[in-house]
Symmetry: D2
Subunit: 375 residues, 4 copies
């Protein structure tokens, strides 16, 4: 693991996710940006001292020399480090699990795509919301024609925790997120908007080809956007609305998607994720539950929990790890991975997220002009 | 009443609304576009034969001659008749309750505004959703500073009943709604989008000054839009998203508004209208219920029903009628009406709705260019 | 109308309910227990002075002499007056709509049943919750076999407004409700428990044959029960639980019923009454909406409102009035009334409610001994 | 671990729960009732062959001889084995985590209580629903006086999966559950009723002192109850209703509790467990969310997930494991454990569950006579 030491939030989530299905053991890490904090973080996680590294460069170098070297590295640093760290480990022949957004510029992202291709390694991006069982079921249903031809996508991701100037609190979380040098030019659009964007592609399997955006910064003194209103046009003619906000007081982690086709619709809400509302034209609305009747989604990989036993955020996150483990197993055995593993978001999903951020910023700077998305 | 004969939907709603609070008696009507249907409709409603008219022109002429002439006329015709009918009755010195949208062109709407001013008569427009008690409470709360300074407005009105080519069914309802000659150039944007637009103004008391629109027609052969994606900019710098759709399969009458200020937020949903979700920054979400604790909204005028006794669409519609009755009483007695009555939507609300439709069409025809709203 | 003058709550509800479908005109009344308040109440309702009576005895006497005498009387007095008033008007050959519970003793109730039979008049009891469209649909579905053979009934009616000693407020509403002389021996069990009991019979069409009860009075100084826990055994072997409470802080008007058969289940909640949740064994839960797809229930009689336009308490109450009007029309024309009208609760439903109250009190006084219900 | 081999459900849940917070490593097991299945199950879990035992007797014997012997054993067998297995390991000086219900008879349960006391070992029972953060918050709130003096408890646990004769399917899960020799005399009452009973004690911290029960078996040929209707009397005078059912078609895992005091109320629903509805007398209902504003409950031990990131069944289950680990650490260091750990259900909770089952069966066999609960 690179990053994720003391004071970090997402690092611990990655570790639990890795542990949940019993496919991973954490054996090495460059956990923090100073040697002291890196060593202390490693000690707390009971890492061997010799595999607790002072820097990611050292880690890549030393691990690549070991016989028992790591199979895969998790990159959970601030965004601006994703690119150099990922590249170094790919070059060392090590598989990569990388947090999103992929990089802080589209040029870096494309470069990384080439590095992945050249390395022949597995590379997954933790668009973790795509790991929810009912999200995967929604994707399957759309692919199977359950809603007919796609017409309208309404997706939103709203939070309220940045409604005031939390930057002044001194929290590490907030500091790097609101610093364009570390998180990239997008604020809310990059931090959560990319999740919403990915989710709509993941479920609908239809590419957005143009967008028009209105980005706003409501909190005075903030250096990045904190609210994004975006219109989308999809390849097949469908239209979409995407709302991302971090100033929506009262909202906690409100990722929600509603998709409408000519024959039916699906609604999924992250905060109550075990259900999917399904309407067919001329029929009453059905509530499909994870593990419930007529449901293809039996739960995330590890649990197989029956209906009514709620699964949550960690289980969905773990699904991406399990998918990656399965991809690595298949890679090692030179066979095709199981189909669910192939759903793990890859480098292409990563690049599209970066293109989305850049296009939104460009459109917003040009009075909402429609910008093409090409990837 | 003009319009509202056999086969009409909204006419009966207006009649119940008028009756609910016992302020009105229906005594005269020009209920249909042919004399036969007009007479038959009048007979069924137990109107006196002599006050059942073959045309609205006849009705305006004859009623204006009577000593016991009508106080007020309800106009519930297809949209294109609102203008000539309203004008004729205003000229005859009769108060007017008119369905929305006000007219089929902005020029007509402005002309009507002048006619109202010249006549000195009461003129209300049935933006009926503003009659819900919790909508009025939301307005009061916003005015009282409960959410602080307005930042984001998310409003939507989605239905699914036109997801297929219902025009082919031959239903009168559908036919005039999808005929630009009768309903005006807007389809979904005029029929339901204007309700959403009005609601956001009514609650927030903040004027939208610019919009960018993407109108779509998904059903092949349809002559008007059936989905509208609109971005709004408000006078104080707030930003909004408005979605109106009649092809959202599974949605019934999904009018919903969420407004976020720097200090709090409010959420209201028409399909479960007795509740308002209120969040203050740093406090748990509260569910305010009509008639419940700490609630200024005791129910619509007529009922005073305690909390937990749900009120619905008819009660809210009746509120507009009661407000109008109170305006007329005050007008007769040359005094100021009670404050709730002053909330009844008037001709200015009507014109703004028409301007909204025209601006949306113009923006959509120009790749989403931002169009100013001036009224 | 007898009762329902100034300060009364339910009288106004009855008047709106009567007006809603345009089958009734209020022409006479003995509206209060003193002549002064009776006259003043009549004046406010614009009753003719000569038909505003000082007492119900006078009203029955005088009306029975008139050629244009009333067709039907609404009895909306405190409970202890239902019996003498109803009897007097039946004897005068006038149809009766009576509030619930029918009487304050089972003996009176049985006597009234005979009086109804002897009079040949229409007699309905305002178990108003049975007027909701989705309640009627539930009944139809059960009758049609949608849930299979009935096994379990969970019904509850919980309110919180009497959690403190509201008797001390001096409100008329509370005073008679908590006075056994005026409301009968049951408190919560009579006021709201009977509604829950009736609802379960109405929907399931299965008779409870035994009950075991635990009544409690939580508020010190209260003279009647304020919480009732009751077990039910139905004729076909099904088992039930009934909870009624007026001390459930936070609850407003929480009438809810869930019924389970061997093949399916239905859930209905009064506070969001336009929906019915339906599960079949091995199928996802469906949300049936009033006026929606595959729904037999098009709305209450008057409105025919489409799905998504919520109907509420007043509309359901009006349904009982409309049913009664239809029964009276059919009676006048000596023909069978339409089937929906036959669903109006009658005197037998009224007696059963009184038997239920007495049995619950008896069981509770005997450590929850099972008491037979015979009617 | 004893039990939990191939084909078992709850064993895997225990293993994930143990792993989640990184306090446990699985090193030994007697996983199945035949040596072949035991070895094969051990192999799949990558246990060392020498610590994969053919029987629990062998495991207790061999482990107690080892220097690196297990600290704690998880007992996840069918109910009838809890007693002998727990006793053997306690005698060997090993801490125990035992599934519920504790034993199949009250005599065994009391005997086990003595064995626990004599051994001085940590003994926890996986009443896992008490591990949910919002359940713990509810307990804290009640203790802190947030609802005032307790009056009414409505608790229910309803499932539908046994609505038909699933015993005929041959599933191991069902077979032992419906066999009184293996699961004890209670069916639904033991399997899920005990969870509901424990939850009400856990949150309210008020002991039920009497119960009256009506147990039913709806599915023909079933050997144990599948529906339980129970009335409760609490020590302080509060009254309760408990409903447990496995024939409630459409219900999945419907554990829900509502508690009402003279000053407020709390509602919690397992299927959407991250929220708690809180009403104070005279105030609007609040929705408290895990990790949200004014919430003491930051999430389960391991995660610290912020509000809106749903936690579920596994996290709550893991909490019991983490609590136990903390108890063991404190035991080892002869200090007081942290207070949250002390909330872990212990042997007294276990015995009370067994007493509850026996009392319910006795009451039901005696026409619902009130039976005292003494423990």
């Amino acid at each position: 693991m690179v990053g994720g030491g003391q004071g970090a939030f997402i690092g611990n989530v990655h570790r639990i996710a890795a542990r949940l299905d019993d496919h991973y053991t954490l054996v090495a890490g460059a956990l923090a940006s100073t040697p002291e904090r890196a060593y202390e973080s490693g000690r707390r996680l009971r890492l061997a001292r010799e595999r607790t590294y002072a820097s990611y460069e050292e880690m890549a170098l030393e691990e690549s020399k070991r016989d028992d070297r790591i199979d895969v590295v998790s990159i959970v640093t601030p965004n601006y480090l994703h690119y150099p760290v990922a590249k170094l480990f790919l070059d060392a022949g090590i598989h990569v699990i990388c947090d999103k957004p992929l990089t802080t510029s589209l040029a870096d992202a494309k470069d990384l795509q080439q590095a992945v291709a050249a390395s022949g390694r597995i590379f997954t991006v933790t668009y973790n919301y795509s790991g929810y069982p009912m999200v995967r079921m929604a994707r399957e249903m759309v692919a199977g024609g359950c809603i007919g031809s796609l017409r309208v996508v309404q997706v939103e991701y709203c939070q309220g925790w940045m409604a005031e100037k939390v930057e002044d609190s001194g929290s590490k979380q907030v500091l790097w997120r609101s610093d364009p040098e570390k998180s990239g030019p997008g604020g809310c659009i990059g931090d959560i908007g990319t999740h919403a964007f990915h989710l709509s592609h993941f479920i609908c399997n239809e590419r957005a080809v143009e967008l028009s955006a209105e980005l706003s910064t409501f909190v005075s003194g903030r250096r990045v956007d904190d609210n994004a209103h975006i219109l989308l046009r999809f390849e097949n003619g469908a239209k979409g609305m995407l709302w991302a906000s971090q100033v929506a007081v009262g909202e906690e982690n409100g990722l929600r998607i509603r998709i409408y086709g000519d024959g039916g619709s699906l609604i999924w809400t992250q905060e109550n994720p075990n259900y999917l509302l399904y309407s067919q034209r001329g029929k009453p609305q059905q509530r499909l539950s994870r593990g419930g009747p007529e449901t293809a989604a039996p739960g995330t990989a590890h649990s197989g929990l029956p209906a009514g036993h709620p699964e949550g955020y960690l289980e969905a996150f773990a699904q991406i790890y399990t998918d990656t483990a399965r991809l690595i197993h298949a890679h090692r055995e030179s066979r095709k991975p199981v189909s669910s593993a192939q759903l793990a978001p890859g480098v292409l999903d990563g690049i599209r997220g970066v293109e989305f951020i850049e296009a939104a910023i460009q459109s917003s700077a040009n009075a909402g002009a429609w910008i093409s998305l090409k990837l």
